[in-house]
C-alpha cells in the first residue's frame, strides 16, 4: 500500500524579483518498503519537494498524505509531533547536536518521545552498533569523520521508530567509501526492517543503488522508473 500519496503539489516562492515555481504539479505515490532516489539538477526542486514530504514546509497547493493523514489538516504543533513519531530525517550536513555525544544524539529524539532512559540507552547503543559505531558511543560529532557523523544521523533517524526516512542529499559531503558504506547500511535497514527510504542525490553511484528513480526537472517529474530489486542489488556483499 502507499505510505505517501501526493497529489498535484505546487510550491511557489515569492522571490524578491520573480516568483519561483520550485515544485510545479507533482503527483506521486511512495509504497511501503521502497528505496527510492529523487534525482535532478541543482535547483530542480528536490529539497523543496522533500521538505513538503516531511512536513517541514507547507505546499502552496496540493495534498500530502502520509499513512492516511492529510498534513494540511494538522496544526503546526501537531505537525511537529507527527514528524517526531512518523518520519526520520537525515540531512546533507549531518546536523547533529555538537555538544552531545553520538549516544546522546541518538537518545535525544527518544527523550522527546518520552521514552524512559534505560530503554533509550539500550536502543541507542543497539542502533549505533548496527551502523558500525559501537566503539564511538561517547565521541562528540566534532571528533567523528563526515561518514561517521552521517551514520550517527541515520541511527538518530531510526531511533524514533519511523516507518519512513527522508534523506536530502545524505552523501553529498561524503567520500566514495563512506557513501558506499552508508548506502549499504540504509539498504540493509530497508531490507531487514522494511523501512521506507526516500533520498535525493546528484551522485550516479547512489542512483545506481536505488530501487526506484524519480527524476525531477524544473519542479516537474520527468521520469519515474522502478527497477527490480534483484537486478539492482546484485551480489554487493
Amino acid at each position: 500500500m502507499s505510505i505517501i500519496t501526493i497529489k498535484d503539489l505546487h510550491k511557489v516562492y515569492d522571490g524578491t524579483q520573480v516568483e519561483v515555481h520550485a515544485v510545479n504539479g507533482v503527483t506521486l505515490n511512495i509504497e511501503e518498503g521502497e528505496f527510492s532516489a529523487l534525482v535532478g539538477p541543482s535547483g530542480s526542486g528536490k529539497t523543496t519537494l522533500m521538505n513538503m514530504l516531511g512536513g517541514l514546509d507547507r505546499p502552496t497547493s496540493g495534498q500530502v498524505m502520509i499513512n492516511g493523514t492529510d498534513l494540511s489538516q494538522l496544526k503546526d504543533s501537531e505537525l511537529i509531533d507527527f514528524r517526531l513519531h512518523h518520519i526520520g530525517f537525515v540531512f546533507q550536513s549531518y546536523n547533529l547536536i555538537p555538544v552531545l555525544t553520538a549516544l546522546e544524539n541518538v537518545e535525544f529524539i527518544m527523550h522527546l518521545q518520552g521514552i524512559p532512559s534505560a530503554e533509550r540507552y539500550a536502543r541507542a547503543k543497539e542502533l549505533l552498533e548496527a551502523v558500525g559505531l559501537g566503539d564511538r558511543l561517547n565521541s562528540r560529532p566534532g571528533q567523528l569523520s563526515g561518514g561517521q557523523q552521517q551514520r550517527v544521523a541515520v541511527a538518530r533517524a531510526l531511533a524514533s521508530k519511523p516507518r519512513y526516512v527522508l534523506a536530502d542529499e545524505p552523501t553529498a559531503n561524503l567520500d566514495s567509501h563512506s557513501t558506499e558504506n552508508l548506502l549499504d547500511i540504509m539498504e540493509e535497514l530497508n531490507r531487514k526492517e522494511n523501512i521506507t527510504f526516500v533520498f535525493s542525490t546528484h551522485d550516479a553511484r547512489v542512483v545506481k543503488k536505488a530501487h526506484r528513480v524519480i527524476v525531477l526537472e524544473d519542479g516537474k517529474v520527468i521520469s519515474d522508473e522502478v527497477r527490480k530489486k534483484e537486478v539492482v542489488n546484485g551480489p554487493n556483499e
Binding site: L84, V99, Q113, R156
Partner: protein, 405 residues
Amino acid sequence: MIIHVAWRNIWRNPTRSLVVILAMVVGMFAGIFMVSFAKGMMKERLNRGIETEVSHIQIHHPKFREADELKYQIKDVFQKIKDIEQIEGVNGVSPRIVIQAMVASAETGSGVKLIGTDPDREKTVSNLYTYIKKGKWFEGISRNPVVIGQKLADKLSVHVRSKIVLTFQDDEGNITSGAFRIAGIYQTVNTSFDETHVYVRFDDLDQLAALPQGAAQEIAVHLSSQKYLNQVKNKLSDMYPNLEVLTWKKLNPEFGYINDVYDYYLYVFIIIILLALGFGIVNTILMAVLERVKELGMLMAIGMKKGRIFRMIMWESVMMSIIGGTLGVGIGLLVTIWTNHTGISFDSYKTGFEALGYGTTVHPIIDWGITINVMVLVFVTGIVAAVYPALKALKLNPAEALRTE
C-alpha cells in the same frame, strides 16, 4: 536532558559565557556587599543609639516629651526603680532629671540638655562612661562635678577642672544658676550628641532645681536582651498606667524608619545592577540563538516542540545568571563575614561620618531576608532576559532554518 543540553550549550562559547557570568558575579558581589555594609552601618548606629544615647525603654510623664517642662514629673522614682529592677530581662534602671539649660564658661555660652543622674546607676543603662577621654566619670571633683562632651568643651574652651555655670528655671519658676567643675569629658562618635548633653549628679541638681523629694523627669531602663523589649514594655505600661512608657523605636523614630528606608534604597540599587546585567544576558543569549539557527531548525524538524525549545533557551539564561548570581552572592557573604571580623576603617572620612552619628569603623553584617530576595531576583532576571531571544528562536521556520549555512 533538556537542562543537560542547555548546560552544554552554555559552554560552546566559554569566553562569552564566562564574561557574562563574571559580570554577574561582580555585580551581585557589589550588591550583596553594599547591603551588608549598609546594614552594618545601620546596626552600629542603632546599637550606639541604644547603648549610649537612649537605652531600651524610657518612662516619662505623658506630657513631658511634648512640652519638655520641669513640672511634668514622675513621683517616687526610687521606689519605682526598685520595682522595675525586679522585672525579668531588666538589667539596669536609672533616674534622670532632665532640664533645658544654658551653660556658660568664661568665654561663651550654649543651650544644652542638662541631665541629673545617679553616676553608678547611669553606668547600668548607658555606656557613655566608657567614652570618657579626659578626666573621670564623676570622680576627682568633690563639689558639683559635671561631665560634658568634647565638642561642647571645645566650644566653651574649657578643660577638666574648668568651672562652668549652668542656668535654668527651677520648679518654682525662678531662674537659678549653679557653678559646676568639669570632672570628665566624653567623646562619642556622634558629635551633635556630644555638643548638647551635659551630665551632673542627681542629688546636686535635685536641690538646685527645687524638685520635690523623689521626683524626676525620666527613668531609663536597660535590658539584658532585645528579645525582652515588648514584654517589659507591656509590663511597665500595666504597672504605670498614668505614665508614658516608650521603647527606643518610638523614642527615636529615625531608628525605626531607618531600616525600611534603607531597604528600599538597597533594592532600587540591586534592581538597577540586575537590569544592566540582564541586558548583557539578553545580548549573549540572542547571539547564541542567531549562531544556531540551522541547529534549531534541525531540532524543530526532528520533532522538538516550540515549548521545549523555549525552555531550553530559558535554562541557558537562567543557569548563567544563577551561577553568576550564586557565586557573586556567595563571595559577597564570605567577604561580609570576613570584614565583619576585621572591620573596615574610614579614618580619613572621620568628621563626615561622626557628624551623622556613624562610627568610622564599619562591621558589615549579613541580611538573610535581602539575600534570599536577591537570589529570587537573579532567577527572575535570567527568565526575563531569555524571553526575547527565545521568542526569536520560535519564529524560525524549520525548512528555511535548515537552508542557512
